[in-house]
């Protein structure tokens, strides 16, 4: 112990001189997204990854265990990433890791056909030779069954786009009772033959091909559906299948011999297996990967390098090629409760007064977060930068006392402390209120919550403004119990028509319109104080390659991963 103290004391004397090298800014990655029109783009095999060799085990570290495997119930970043290995969907993104996104057919031959050109009827033709791990062919009926079971509230947890769009109501469980007749199909779902799936919507849903890329469209063989327990061992269609798990400690995936690369435009099957190891915190993960001993040499950290180790990791040029850094579409904003703070000038003043620099420093600096002044994340197709309220001295008259609520976990406390300090310096009277972390989201999602300001975050499910602006700011979906996904409770009638108009446009014409609406909402309503987008900054072992940060969720993508001996 004494030895350790001496050792530590010596290390403590290291100098961090002023004016040293600053971390370089990663360029803003602006995705260009298209929906593949050529069916060839949806055909396999996927182009080979440079340097890839078969064999080996990729280990993925994450602190908390992956809770969900059931494709209809997955909605976590890791679930979305890992499920790509075993659960194929109707459509998926071909992603080169630099922002060039193409939506292609996955189980379907194309990313969907808009039958009448009105976005109301979509048809998918299922590929030949796609099989479950059991060897049984995947049929349109299996996909329809997967969609049907997502209507079951017992199996809730996954996205709800399809259910709401098909039934035309947020209370989709009333429109279709899965429990009553498991062989029935939900409203609007038709299976004319084994290889055709048709979806009819009461309203135009031009974003459907994007929504179909979520794992909720993965097929489930009705005979294998064990309800809640299906979560333990979903039947695989991708290049890997679940071999087993050891409690909350380890999950093992092995190759699925029934997967045919000729049918898959985006996935590979290089490593023999993937092991997900749960428990170690980000500090331990980073240290183990830096040390790279034994199996850790082909490991990667899903949680990323913690702020406390950033200067160590980035200070070592030898580690630089092993870093994976990229912007993500994950937004954090200070929601302003527009029901309480009704004065636009106060909301504007908050925007002018906020100290994003200190906040980003407190969270770990430029490698962890990038300040943001727009409602859309830079990873949205068509995004353009603007700052409606540049930092300046403000008049806080009329603001009164503002209560800032935050989660009582470490990060929530840190961010709130930093924000409150900045706003107080500008003259605001701020009270901070800690809310139990597990209760925080449900509390701020209540339309009648008692707070003025609170930290909220959002990650769009596909890189379009349609997955952000209507989701967060369409006042029509606010009801007595709660509301849309936003927490500023902006209910502005003039915006309704805008949302409807843009959403009915063909998908490639929407992007510039969303970007314009972004700025309009900010200038005319200032419903939130945009704060930052998260950056992914993680580290891999020296012998694992082909990993990249995906352009849709900003998580690690494993489809090209390989291990060098």
């Amino acid at each position: 112990m004494a030895f350790a103290l001496v050792l530590a004391a010596c290390a403590a004397c290291t100098d961090n001189p002023r004016g040293g090298a600053s971390p370089e800014e990663d360029p803003v990655r602006q995705p260009t997204g298209v929906i593949a029109t050529d069916p060839a783009a949806s055909r396999g095999p996927a182009p080979e990854t440079a340097g890839a060799v078969p064999g080996g085990t990729v280990t993925v570290f994450r602190q908390t265990a992956l809770a969900r495997l059931d494709p209809q119930r997955i909605y976590s970043f890791m679930g979305l990433s890992i499920s790509q290995l075993y659960a194929r969907r109707l459509t998926t993104f071909a992603d080169d890791g630099s922002g060039k996104l193409t939506l292609v057919g996955d189980l379907a031959e194309t990313p969907g056909t808009d039958v009448n050109g009105d976005c109301r009827t979509w048809e998918f033709r299922i590929k030949e030779n796609v099989r479950f791990e059991t060897g049984a062919p995947v049929t349109a009926r299996d996909i329809a069954y997967g969609i049907a079971r997502s209507f079951d509230l017992t199996l809730a947890g996954g996205p709800t786009y399809l259910q709401e769009w098909l039934s035309g109501t947020p209370q989709y469980d009333k429109a279709f009772d899965f429990e009553k007749d498991k062989a029935a199909l939900p409203p609007g779902v038709e299976v004319p033959d084994d290889r055709t799936l048709r979806l009819r919507f009461p309203k135009a849903q031009c974003d459907l091909p994007f929504a179909a890329a979520l794992p909720a469209t993965a097929p489930v063989p009705a005979a294998a559906d064990t309800g809640l327990d299906y979560d333990r061992a979903p039947v695989a269609t991708g290049p890997y299948k679940i071999e087993g798990r050891t409690g909350d400690t380890e999950l093992r995936l092995v190759r699925n011999p029934q997967w045919d690369p000729a049918t898959d435009a985006t996935r590979h099957q290089y490593p023999d297996r993937f092991t997900l190891a749960f428990g170690a915190d980000p500090v331990a993960q980073t240290n183990r990967i830096m040390a790279a001993q034994g199996p850790d040499a082909s490991a990667v950290s899903f949680d990323g390098v913690p702020p406390s180790l950033l200067s160590r990791v980035t200070g070592d040029p030898a580690l630089d090629p092993r870093m994976l850094r990229s912007q993500t579409p994950r937004l954090t904003m200070l929601s302003i409760n527009t029901r309480r703070v009704t004065d636009l000038s106060v909301r504007a003043a908050l925007n002018r007064a906020v100290d994003r620099e200190s906040l980003v420093k407190a969270l770990g600096g430029a490698a962890v977060a990038r300040p943001l002044t727009t409602l859309l994340p830079p990873s949205t197709i068509g995004w353009h930068a603007y700052d409606a309220y540049p930092k300046s001295a403000v008049d806080v008259a009329g603001a009164g006392e503002l209560v800032l609520a935050h989660a009582d976990d470490a990060e929530g406390q840190l961010a709130a402390t930093s924000l409150a300090t900045g706003l107080r310096a500008a003259g605001f009277t701020i009270t901070t209120k800690a809310v139990p972390a597990d209760n925080y989201l449900p509390e701020i999602q209540k339309a009648d919550n008692p707070w003025d300001l609170y930290l909220d975050s959002w990650a769009p499910d596909w890189p379009s403004g349609a997955a952000v602006l209507p989701a967060l700011y369409d006042g029509r979906s606010i009801n007595a119990e709660g509301g849309n996904n936003g927490t500023s409770y902006l209910d502005a009638r003039p915006l309704d028509a805008e949302f409807d108009r843009i959403q009915a446009l063909p998908i490639d014409e929407q992007s510039p319109q969303w970007a314009a609406l972004d700025e309009k909402i900010m200038r005319e309503y200032a419903p939130v104080v945009p704060l930052y987008t998260e950056l992914t900054c993680t580290i891999r072992g020296p012998s694992v390659g082909g990993l990249f940060v995906d352009s849709v969720f900003g998580s690690l993508a494993f489809v090209n991963a390989f291990v060098t001996p």
Binding site: P17, R18, P23, Q413
Partner: protein, 299 residues
């Protein structure tokens, strides 16, 4: 003789240390005023782009004697001084509460015997079997809701009060056991039997005959509670269940610092040493006190 003397000297040193730490904790606001930095003052300009303090050993300078906290950039020495204050403000009243509870329960059980004794002994079992952490989480929220409106700031002192109550409510078992044993032993002694024979009631016997003899077991049982509660408070904070920001707290500071063991070791060492020193000094003091007062052989 020389061994005795040396032990006496170490006790003196521990007592002096304990006094010093208590004084520092008590005078925290004064120290902050003279030193020129408060617990909420941030010095973000002295941090680099990663939020790490500029300069040697985590930003140690003539202005910031123990450097700055990475990220927020608060003065570390002031955080530690106020952290000591938080620790002792929780631990000391909790010791009094636990001791009082333990004395009453132990004395009643020992004096009355029979089913009351059995019941109270059983209560001790329940108190031991209930996990402190669970109670901490379960109790804090309803109490907060009961005392503070949804828009009221909850002052740091509130959580501290809850912790005092919690440590008191679960920490009395040791004292109770010692006191019960002593009281049962006393009950058999002549002077008590004589008092009973003379028709004295239980209250009178407790007050006149038994309590005066309970000083040593109570002191012995309570002696080590202070370091125990200090450690437990820090451990709760380490798990994120103790005192919250912006109230400074040693356990929470250490928890946050551990990740910086490689990048800013000074940030770990200073608050770590402070906590170890605090617990150490009061353990030495408690051990000597207990040794001096323990009624039984050994522990």
């Amino acid at each position: 003789m020389s061994f005795r003397l040396r032990r006496f000297r170490s006790v003196l040193a521990a007592a002096a240390g304990a006094l010093l730490l208590t004084l520092v904790a008590a005078a925290a606001p004064l120290i902050a005023a003279i030193y020129g930095a408060g617990p909420q003052d941030t010095f973000a300009d002295d941090l680099d782009a990663y939020g790490m303090p500029y300069g040697i050993a985590g930003g140690v300078s003539t202005v910031h004697w123990l450097g700055l906290e990475p990220g927020l950039g608060r003065d570390l020495m002031i955080q530690i001084v106020y952290g000591l204050r938080t620790s002792l403000t929780v631990a000391a009243p909790a010791v009094l509460l636990a001791t009082a509870l333990g004395t009453v329960i132990g004395a009643v059980a020992g004096l009355l015997g029979g089913w009351v004794d059995a019941l109270l002994t059983w209560l001790t079992d329940v108190a031991i079997a209930l996990p402190l952490l669970l109670c901490a989480i379960a109790v804090i929220r309803p109490l907060e809701l009961a005392f503070y409106g949804p828009r009221d700031a909850v002052p740091g002192t509130f959580r501290m009060t809850v912790l005092i109550g919690l440590f008191g409510a679960l920490g009395w078992t040791g004292v109770a056991r010692l006191v019960r044993g002593q009281v049962r032993a006393l009950r058999e002694r002549e002077f008590v039997t004589a008092a009973v024979a003379l028709g004295a009631g239980p209250g009178r016997i407790l007050g006149r005959e038994v309590l005066p003899h309970l000083g040593p077991p109570i002191t012995a049982g309570a002696a080590l509670l202070l370091p125990t509660f200090t450690s437990a408070g820090a451990a709760l904070s380490f798990l994120g269940l103790g005192v919250l920001e912006p109230t400074p707290d040693l356990g929470r500071t250490i928890q946050r610092s551990l990740g910086y063991l490689q990048t800013d070791p000074a940030y770990v060492i200073f608050p770590g040493l402070a906590l170890v020193l605090l617990v150490f000094v009061f353990t030495v003091l408690g051990e000597s006190v207990r040794r001096a007062f323990d009624p039984g052989p050994g522990r």
